[in-house]
């Protein structure tokens, strides 16, 4: 009982740490996001919690994408691990979560082509679910990507 009670608290605290890290990240508070994100990843890895582990890996990879110099190898390693969990989980919702994370990373490190493909795939999955307009989040990333591409064209 003692162990289970402790574990329950750790599981939920980990979940909320992941949520907090994601929100801080999306609000542009990168350094504040790093601590809860790393802590959550540590706990997720020690527990057998694949869904939260996937999100924790993606958030940590997204934080790394904002750092300079960008550690491409580490980001790719984390995203590969997350992708394997998505494959195993076979959940459309979690697949979309993964695609969105990849698109955010692509946008940050300048892999615009990949980001566009990920967003198109996410849109397709939403369409299959009957959501013609996808979600606010997807539209935010699409807009950010379009602006980044326009900025790059202008620079050339």
């Amino acid at each position: 009982m003692n162990q289970r009670a402790k574990k329950w608290v750790i599981v939920w605290s980990t979940r909320f740490s992941v949520f907090l890290a994601e929100a801080l990240l999306l609000s542009g508070r990168m350094e504040e996001a790093a601590e809860p994100a790393e802590k959550a990843l540590l706990f997720c890895q020690s527990l057998d919690l694949e869904l939260i582990l996937q999100v924790a890996l993606e958030i940590n990879a997204r934080i790394l994408a904002h750092r300079h110099p960008v550690n491409h190898a580490r980001i790719d390693q984390m995203m590969k691990q997350a992708a394997a969990l998505v494959e195993r989980g076979r959940s459309s919702i979690m697949k979309i979560v993964h695609l969105m994370a990849r698109a955010w990373i692509g946008l940050e490190i300048g892999r615009f082509g990949g980001a566009r493909e990920d967003l198109a795939e996410a849109r397709c999955l939403y369409l299959k679910m009957g959501l013609k307009n996808a979600t606010g989040e997807l539209r935010i990333v699409e807009k950010a990507l379009a602006e980044a591409e326009a900025g790059r064209r202008k620079a050339y």
């Binding site: 009670a5 329950w8 608290v9 909320f16 949520f19 009957g130 989040e137």
Partner: protein
């Protein structure tokens, strides 16, 4: 049996229980066994197998008239549907769970059923519809006084706020959630304190403080 990650061990255990029935499954016991089997398989991403156990659980619960199990099985079916993106079906199963919970007037189950319904509602309905529904779900959670249902509600609202791009709401919810998890942890430890040291001793300590 909270989803604490010990899925493979749980699976092996439930398999043994199912095998022990030799095909003659007492509905009043095996409705729960199949429910937990479905729940565990669902956590492992084995959705089709999970569904067949949940439907078997519903069948047995129907025979034994166990509405608790029916409410739980519909609720978990709704969560599986949601995970696979079958949003309309998720909504229907959540509604069935709400109906069962209302029938047995179980505030905790009702609160959880409402929380489960919030996710497909978040995707399928507009902002205003979701806000109305969220208020209703919050009302039931408060009525139930169940902190775990509160945790679920906060995490549901996180998912909604993320997909809508409302990040400040997520920060507030996550901070509330962290505090709530700590509070629940304290409650559990208080319970442990009672069981280890005995209520009387604790009461004496309490009385001596006043």
């Amino acid at each position: 049996m909270e989803p604490l990650g010990e899925f493979e061990e749980t699976l092996a255990l439930i398999k043994q229980v199912l095998e022990a029935s030799d095909g003659a499954e007492d509905p009043s016991i095996y409705d729960r066994v199949h429910y937990w089997m479905g729940h565990t398989l669902g956590n492992l991403g084995r959705y089709d197998e999970a569904r067949s156990h949940l439907f078997r659980s519903l069948e047995l619960a129907g025979n034994s008239g166990n509405r608790d199990t029916e409410a739980d099985a519909y609720s978990y079916l709704s969560q599986l549907d949601y995970m696979q993106g079958y949003l309309d079906r998720a909504l229907r199963h959540a509604d069935a769970s709400i109906r069962c919970s209302q029938h047995i007037t179980d505030p905790k189950r009702l609160a959880r059923a409402f929380v489960v319904k919030a996710l497909p509602v978040a995707y399928l309905k507009g902002v205003s519809d979701y806000m109305v529904f969220f208020k209703e779900a919050s009302f039931h959670v408060e009525q139930s006084g169940n902190d775990r249902a509160r945790c679920l509600l906060l995490s549901t609202d996180w998912a909604y706020s993320i997909i809508c791009g409302e990040y400040e709401t997520v920060i507030v919810n996550a901070q509330d959630g962290l505090e709530l998890a700590r509070k629940i942890g304290d409650g559990m430890l208080t319970g442990l304190f009672f069981s280890i040291w005995g209520g009387q001793r604790f009461m004496q300590a309490e009385l001596s403080m006043h």
